[in-house]
């Protein structure tokens, strides 16, 4: 029992000073990103001001995939080593990942309507991102469907690991198949096909989302650890 709690306590100790730092970084990146994205950056040669939606859409998609990779890694540790901290980190990251996936889909639709002429199409990219949202939803549902968190995490971890298959599909969909969605602008070994004046707000927003994730993860982890302590206290009565 002792070693199960030792590491979470260590985690709490090192993250206590990090929490305000991460929150302040979120605000700084967000302010910079919003100012450059909405006001200071030039309109696109083809899309005009509609391009500005990209600054909230593209980073949301990146972070949604990043959180899934994190969730899968934590699920792997939780499944094989039954590590308590990994379990707690995994379940704490799920709602944040679902939030960013949802934001990616909604802002993408709001870009798609004026630019493509439709809110939604069933092309490989859009569908695989929707599957990502269902994976987050499925994880949450499986976890909550067991009365004891130790049991729920087993089933949910397996789902998360199976779902990893979806990550390369999201990434590759725009290159392997004809999709309506455009291929990536930034992740290319040759020069990225996006102008520096537009890349800066994109990266600032990505930074804001990243630190938002870190901040929220730390808070949610605390909540989850409290809830588990509470369960143990109740069981002792």
């Amino acid at each position: 029992m002792k070693y199960r709690w030792a590491r979470p306590n260590f985690f709490l100790k090192i993250t206590t000073p990090l929490l305000p730092v991460s929150f302040i970084l979120t605000l700084l990146f967000l302010t910079g990103g919003l100012y450059l994205g909405l006001i200071a950056s030039p309109p696109d040669y083809l899309q005009g001001d509609g391009m500005r939606i990209m600054y909230v859409h593209v980073p949301a998609s990146w972070i949604a995939s990043l959180i899934y990779a994190f969730l899968a890694l934590m699920s792997f540790f939780a499944f094989v080593w039954r590590h308590l901290l990994a379990e707690v980190l995994a379940i704490s990251s799920v709602p944040i990942g679902a939030l960013f996936t949802g934001l990616s889909l909604v802002t993408g639709a709001l870009w798609g309507k004026p630019m493509w002429g439709t809110y939604w199409v069933w092309d490989a990219r859009l569908t695989s991102v929707l599957v990502l949202l269902f994976l987050y939803g499925g994880y949450w549902a499986l976890y909550k469907s067991y009365s004891r968190p130790e049991q729920g995490i087993r089933a949910a971890s397996l789902l998360a690991l199976v779902g990893v298959i979806n990550l390369p599909i999201i990434k590759g969909s725009v290159e392997w198949w004809n999709t309506l969605h455009q291929p990536a602008s930034l992740i290319k070994l040759s020069s990225p096909s996006i102008d520096p004046s537009m890349l800066t707000p994109l990266l600032l927003m990505a930074g804001a989302y990243f630190f938002y994730f870190i901040t929220l993860l730390m808070i949610r982890t605390r909540t989850e650890l409290n809830t588990r302590k509470l369960l143990i206290l109740e069981a002792k009565k």
Partner: protein, 47 residues
């Protein structure tokens, strides 16, 4: 950005939804956190 852009509703919609959701989610998360601390304190006082 010029206010007369034809995409104004879509842009404000996208930024609005994003910022609103981020704030709402942060608020909800902090609320749950405070609640869990409160419950834990109550429970340990009882025992």
């Amino acid at each position: 950005m010029s206010i007369s852009t034809p995409y104004l509703t879509y842009i404000l919609g996208a930024y609005g939804v994003t910022l609103f959701s981020l704030c709402l989610f942060l608020g909800w998360t902090i609320f749950q956190w405070k609640k869990s601390i409160h419950q834990l304190n109550n429970s340990s006082h009882e025992t």
